[in-house]
Every structure is written in structure tokens, then in C-alpha cells.
């Protein structure tokens, strides 16, 4: 695997749209060609090299390309957008749309990310070693196809609207989450190791939510069923199982509706 290193040298006066920072766009290019890729500030088109020092050449394919981005990226959008393979490591806070619509490969952010990370994600792995903003792993506006597959891991907290319209894949949040989790979800799995506020599983059709901490307000559409013991991915303990959203439509299997499941830990 070849590594391309980008180090931010000029901060944009507005925000930088850098949808070209992906192994797909870099693949097969040398450092100077990579520096010539387009980025945008508002309506102005610039070169990637106007804002970043670029060193190293990319591999022949996305899979053989690793990109390391250094510096304060909190005004850089779209890192790793639509990537299909390879690896991106961002050493700093990044702005919106990290890994949005990604289909493969791995992104690691050693910092926080703003909203819309992992929007419409199909596959691959997104690791955020800080906090995530709102709409992590959610669908794009209007789309009923949210996160389809892959895995998102957040070390810290996540914002509101986690996993909206999620259909598959997995999201693990090490800390707390804000309101609205897995709204309209029809599949997938969300694990919240910290506390949750309210509106977990609202309008949820199918899928699973695990909460290890507290829930401020439970949805009225989730009914307590039983206590169950769970052991999975390093999580072990006794959980209260709720099913819902009782107000929502559900598929039936053998005449029985299949509900979404919400597990809340009640003991070790």
C-alpha cells in the first residue's frame, strides 16, 4: 500500500469542499497530480495543493492507497466521500460529511467530526476517535435508504439523529447520544455504551438498539417484554427487552408482527 500525506498549510477563509480527498480520486496519481485535483471554496475552484502540502504517490488502485491528512481539518468537508476502498486517516477534527456515501475501505478520524458523517453509507469502516456530530450514519434527506452496511465506531459521544432510516450495518457509540436514535430504521444494530436522552426507536420498523446507560424518556410505543442475558462483542449482562414502535407498521412472520428491539442494560 502506498501512502499519500496531506498536511494543511492554508486555512480556507470559508470552508473547503474536498470531495477529492479519497483513495478513488488519488489512485494512480503522483503527488503533483494529486496537488492539482480540484477543491472549492464557495464558487471558487482551487487546487488541493493550494491548501495542502502533498507528499507521496498513490497506489495504482484505491485499495492500494492510503491517505494521511494532518492538521486542523475543522473547515474541510467531504473527506473520504464515496470512497470504495483503501484507507484514510485524518489526524485532527474534520467538518461535515466524513465518509458520506462510502462503499468500502476504512476511515479513521483522530479527532471529532461534524454532522452527516457516514450519510448513506453502504459498506466499509468509519472510526471516529473523538465525538461525532448529528446525523451520524443517517440517510440523506428524503432517502429511505440510510446506512446499508459497514461499521461506524465512535469513541466519544454522538449527536442527534443517529442512524435515521438505517437498514443494515452497525454503529457503536462509546459515550452518550442526543435525541432521536434509529428513527424509521428497518434494520441494523446500534450500541450506545453511555446514556441516551429520548426518542429511541421512534417510528422504528425493525433493527436493534442496545443501551448500556440511562434513557431519560422511553417512547410510549415501546413495550417492556422480558429480561434477557446478552453476551456479544465484549458486552455482557442482563438487559430489559422492549419491543416497538407499536404505533408503526411491521412485517409479519407466521402471523406474528416482527418488532424492533431495544435492549437496556439492567445488571452486569
Amino acid at each position: 500500500m502506498e501512502t499519500v500525506t496531506l498536511t494543511i498549510k492554508n486555512q480556507p477563509d470559508l470552508y473547503l469542499e474536498a470531495d477529492n480527498i479519497t483513495p478513488d480520486a488519488f489512485a494512480g496519481k503522483k503527488a503533483d497530480e494529486i496537488a492539482n485535483l480540484h477543491v472549492y471554496v464557495g464558487r471558487e475552484q482551487h487546487r488541493l495543493g493550494d491548501f495542502f502540502e502533498v507528499s507521496g504517490n498513490a497506489g495504482a488502485t484505491p485499495e492500494e492507497t492510503k491517505i494521511v491528512v494532518n492538521g486542523d481539518l475543522s473547515r474541510v468537508k467531504y473527506i473520504g466521500m464515496k470512497m470504495t476502498g483503501g484507507e484514510v486517516v485524518a489526524n485532527g477534527n474534520a467538518d461535515m460529511y466524513v465518509g458520506a456515501w462510502m462503499q468500502g475501505g476504512k476511515i479513521t478520524v483522530n479527532g471529532n467530526v461534524d454532522a452527516f458523517a457516514g450519510t448513506g453509507m453502504k459498506d466499509g469502516e468509519l472510526v471516529i476517535n473523538g465525538n461525532a456530530g448529528n446525523y451520524l450514519g443517517a440517510a440523506y434527506r428524503g432517502d429511505w435508504r440510510g446506512m446499508q452496511g459497514g461499521k461506524i465506531t465512535v469513541k466519544g459521544n454522538a449527536g442527534s439523529d443517529l442512524g435515521t432510516f438505517m437498514n443494515g450495518g452497525e454503529i457503536i457509540v462509546g459515550g452518550d447520544v442526543d435525541v432521536h436514535v434509529a428513527t424509521h430504521a428497518e434494520g441494523g444494530k446500534i450500541v450506545i455504551k453511555g446514556n441516551a436522552k429520548s426518542r429511541l426507536g421512534g417510528q422504528m420498523v425493525e433493527g436493534e438498539i442496545y443501551v448500556l446507560g440511562n434513557i431519560d424518556v422511553m417512547m410510549p410505543g415501546f413495550a417492556y417484554r422480558e429480561d434477557v442475558d446478552i453476551e456479544m462483542d465484549g458486552i455482557k449482562g442482563r438487559f430489559a427487552l422492549y419491543e416497538g414502535d407499536l404505533g408503526e407498521r411491521h412485517r409479519k412472520r407466521k402471523g406474528q408482527p416482527i418488532y424492533a428491539k431495544l435492549y437496556q442494560q439492567i445488571g452486569a
Partner: protein, 437 residues
Amino acid sequence: MTRTVTDVICPFCGTLCDDLEVVVSDDEKDLLEVYNACAIGAEKFLHSQAKDRITRPRMRQEDGSWKEISYDEAIEYTARMLTDAKKPLMYGWSSTNCEAQAVGSEIGEIVGAIMDNTATVCHGTSLIAVQDIGIPSCTLGEVKNRADRILFWGCNPAHAHPRHMSRYSIFPRGFFTGKGHTGRKVIVVDPRPTDTASLADVHLQVEQGRDYELLDALRVAFKGEKLPDFVAGIPKEKIYEAAETLKSGRFAIIFFGMGVTQSLGKNHNIDEAIAVTRDLNEYTKAAIMPMRGHYNVTGSGQVWGWLFGFPYAVDLSRGFARYNPGETTANDLLRRDEVDAVFVLGSDPGAHFPFSSVKKIYDRPSVAIDPHETPTTEVCKVHVPVAFVGVEVGGCAYRMDNVPIETRKVVEPPEGMMTDEEFLGRVLARVKEIKGV
């Protein structure tokens, strides 16, 4: 001698009453009296005639004072500001006609602006919800002629849409509703016992910010599933009862307002309310409608819909249209310092945005186009007064149910005053010159 103009359209709220009568002087310069309007609408017509009205553009000076400038100078400043900026915000677009909105859209397209309208602080979250789940709705005449279950959720038409209840919802006698209000059951959901609630058969005083839970509870009740004893401060018996009332009607309509669009959950509250409406269509006929505020915020969403495909928050900066509320919405853009110039027309963000956003407008090159003196004109660098749409110039406007109605000109604007459309047309021409288009 005076003349009475009939069938006049009120350019205040989304109710867009079109039965006003306005008495004007024979020379059509003075507006003397207004009939059939609500207090707010009448004031809007009468204030257009204020003697202290500002009639010429003005520019803020270094020392904070205003200096009168010509329209030509104002056009030049505006065109330069928009073409110099990398990412200008062109905001407002609600208190104006569709013709002006279309010209503004072309300016935005050429300069690469972000176009946002007042839905962003009003029913923008409803539009998000509609994109997620759709909206079964109808025209207001369907409500008048058929509805026997009226639910006002987080809206207070007694104050915000004063003639709504008499023209469309609670009181009118229509084709299948000959008994008027006695044939209808009215439910109000609001954290306050509002003046609208006092007209209702049932008031559910929801705990503020828990609308989503209460709406979900209604859906659970429709299906006959068990509820907790209390949801959002409402005992379950009252929820089951409300659910039964709605299901048992022939035609149920839900009107909703800022109480849900601006509270915790925002678009999700609307989404769930629409889900309630969808569910009701399993049992009877049901529709839902946002109580749109500005008289033509709806039109702005329509014009951008056919030109760009999005009803608000349209980012044209890269020569094509993108949309994502939370990113391309005015308050997020200002808060995050994403835009470098601000143009405002047909709205007053100075009064209606959180102050932190107002300060960002003040910090940037900025132009406000508004017939009035407002908090927005107070913080902008240039203020361009224009003729009142619906009073001094006509043009198309869209009612809250998306019905387009052509507003009427009833009096002449002050001599030499431009309309929105004329001013924008001149700016467009100048922008094209500068950009060599």
C-alpha cells in the same frame, strides 16, 4: 369621490384571504379603508400609507448614520457585493411575489448564492418531514366542505391566522357541512390553554417539547395497543378518547404550526403527525396541513421547486443545486461562518433569527430590500425600500394549501419607488454585465 376595489388579496399570512374590500381615493394614490380583513391584515394595508415611510435607498456611513443614495447606487452596491462574494446568502423571499422570486433565482444561479427562505425558521422542518414520509393533504375548501374533525396541533390561529377558523376550519358551512361548527369536533393540542383552545371541544395540554411522544401514543392507541398511564403529561384515557374521536369522523384534518416545527425533535414531530394522518386513512379520510406564516413563503418553495428541485436551503455555489438543511440553511450558514455576504428581501431575520445569527449579518457586507424600517435594515449596510406587494404591485402568491392566487395592486406606490421585481431585474442585468454572461 372614492372607489372600492373588491376581491383584494391580503398579503399578510398564508391564509391568503381574497375577499377584502379596499376603498381608495379617486386618483388611486391613497388607501382609505379596508374591509373584511383581520386586525393584522388591515394594519398592513393602512401602514403602507404611513407618512414617515422611507422612500429612497440609503447606505450606512462610518459614523453609523444613514445617507440617502440613488437606486442606481444601490443596484451597483448590491451587484458588486454579490459578484465579489465567494458564497453569498440570499435570504427571505417570502413577502414578495413569485415573479420577483423567479428573477432572484436567476441572480442566485449566476452569482452562486445560497438561496434560503423564511421556511428555514418556520416550516422548513415540515418540508424535511414531507421529504421523509410524504404528506396527505388537501385544499382548504375540502376542509370547509367535508371536515368534521379538526385538530390544531401547536398552532394558534386565533392569533396567527385570525380568519382561518371562520373561512376554512371551525365555523364555515360547506357542501357536506351544513351545520357549520356544531357538526365538527375540535381538538387543540398546546402547552398553553390558548385562545384557540378556548374554542375547542377538547384541549390536551401537552408537556412542552413532548409532542413526538404524544403523537406516537395516538398511533399506539389507534392500533389498540397498551399505553403507559401518562404520556407527555396526558392521562392515557384522554389519549384513547382523542384517538377514537379522530377515527370516528368522516373527514379529519390536522393543522400544525410552530409549536411542533420549532420544538425539540422538529421535523420528527411533523413526521409523526403525518404518520398519524396516514394511519387515520386506514379508518376514515384524513389530511394534514402546515399553517404557513408569510403570505408567500409557500410560493417561494414552489418557484425553487420547479427551477432547482428543492423548496428552501438551496446551495447554488458550485453552479448546480445542492440541498441539506443543517448545512445549507441560513442560521447554520451564519453560525458557522460559511457565507461572506448577505442579501435579504421580503423577510426580517434581524427580528426573527437568534441574535447570534443577526450579529453575523451585521459583520458582513449586507443589503436589505424591504418597504419597512426593520431590525434587519438596522444591521445591514444598505437598505432599499420598495413597493408593497399586494398593495402597490400585484403578482402571484401561494396560499398555505399551495393554491396560487394573483394578488392585486390597489394603489400606486410613492413616486419613483421601485418594486422588488424591478429592482431585482436591474441587479440581474448588472450582475450579467459584471460576470460577462
